[in-house]
Amino acid sequence: MSRLIIMGGGVSGHTAATFARKWLGKDHEVVVVTPNSQWNWIPSNIWVGVGQMSKKDVTFPLAPVYKKAKIDYRQAKAVSIHPNGKADSDNSYITIEYTEEGKEGQTEELSYDYLINATGPKLNFGATPGLGEGANLGEHTVSVCTADHAEHASHELQKIFEKAKAGERQKILVGTGHGMCTCQGAAFEYIFNIEHEAKKAGVRDMVDIKWISNESFLGDFGMGGLHMKVGGYAVSSKLFAESLFAERNVDWIVGAHVSKVEAGNIHYELLDGSTGEESFDFSMLIPPFAGVGLKAFDKAGEDITDTIFAPNGFMKVDANYAAGAYENWKASDWPRTYQNPTYSNMFACGIAFAPPHIISKPMSSPNGTPINPTPPRTGMPSGIIGKAVAHSVCDLINKGESAHLHEASMAEMGAACVASAGKGVFNGTAAAMTVYPVVPDFEKYPGTGRDTDYTFGEIGLAGHWIKHILHHLFIYKAKLKPGWTLIPE
């Protein structure tokens, strides 16, 4: 009998756990450890953030789903990993601390045969003074990273609209809250949904909306942008992103590191080293991500965190962490099996694995401040990687240690993304995009790094219908309703 523990119940972890349960016989255990009691379809949080959905629309309780699937569910956060066991035992184990009501703070050791780290990001608000403390959102800005944050954001936004209706001009600032953020796409969706709602509320002319991000150009999205064929031309995403901003009268500042947030004001530094300030009445700034802070210890209790985790807290996998300068980067730097190089029974998937480097061109100001997006791991790659890792672990359990590991390199997979620009069955729009591959391969596709036959983008009502349908489809799939495996990640 083997035990597989998955730390994290988000898109990647939940995918890994549910497929592992399906593929492993009843002789083996599948355990999910997550501090959350609810599963959250994160892509729809932006609609909660503008009041177009409620928290209930984007979450559901995990316990009944895991009970139905016969997955052992522990509502707890993982604290440490002990891959070599302890003094009196060679069994690998993790320590967990319960967050479940009635058991808060209780700790337990869980032994494992295989471990999947799908803990996702620590929302590192504390990295920018004034943005927050540690992983906690501060009081000056809002967030759409969690359903709770998004609900709060919606209430604050309504206050802004009320003031605008009363004749007070309002200033809205949306973007990234640090020079090394990712998730520019989510901020993009939020700013245009705010703009759309402001128009619907009849206050658009009383609201100034501005974007600020760490991208060196609009349309980078943490992927170095993309090129698509439009009207017989191969076109950079920069052109279409800037076009949408101009069309919707949204000003922008790019190449910015937000260095400090105060009540109604931010300070920032630009790539040319100059500094500036922007005032705001309402602001949503994405925090930078870090690993959740797991520690690791050897048999003697010595700290071996650096062996397993990169300095940013994400778990090392089979990536090339010695790629060096940007000019030397290759698609093959990116991991394929997501297996930890030191402990072969340990894997990481979703946002939890340490990328070899960023995707966008690295940039910093003359002061040495890094100002460049970090790589996004959106829903589709996260789900595919989670499934591949689960498949590898199941094969190792069922076929033995020499089983072939399944591969899912982001340099060999595409992503389908839908970025909402406003919700409405008949007047909503969204940019529907495919990118192939996610991580550009300039050796295989010189010039653009991507196959432009499979990379495209288009904005319209159809995109909105697709995003809304995907909302329902993926929640259906996550609830393990009949036919759930037929819905691809």
């Binding site: 052109l239 800037e242 076009s243 901003f245 101009a246 069309e247 009268n249 000003d251 922008w252 589709m380 595919i384 997979m413 595409g414 992503a415 389908a416 008949f426 007047n427 729009t429 529907a432 495919t434 192939y436 499979y454 495209f456 288009e458 904005i459 319209g460 009502l461 159809a462 995109g463 219908w465 697709i466 691809p488 990640e489």
Partner: protein, 55 residues
């Protein structure tokens, strides 16, 4: 002289002036239900092809 509202924004900033802004027809096609129904089918096919290549 006809006012083309969609071109007004070119004058609002240097940034806006140097990009492209869709005209009235292009914008109306984004929410034209019949056209978007056709695009819905095409986009889904394109996405399914990419999803299939990725699994």
């Amino acid at each position: 002289m006809s006012i083309k509202n969609e071109e007004v924004n070119f004058g609002k900033s240097e940034q806006f002036n140097l990009t492209m802004i869709p005209g009235k027809f292009a914008r109306s096609m984004r929410t034209c239900k019949i056209f978007q129904l056709f695009r819905f089918i095409v986009i889904n096919i394109k996405m399914l092809v990419v999803v299939r290549k990725s699994h």
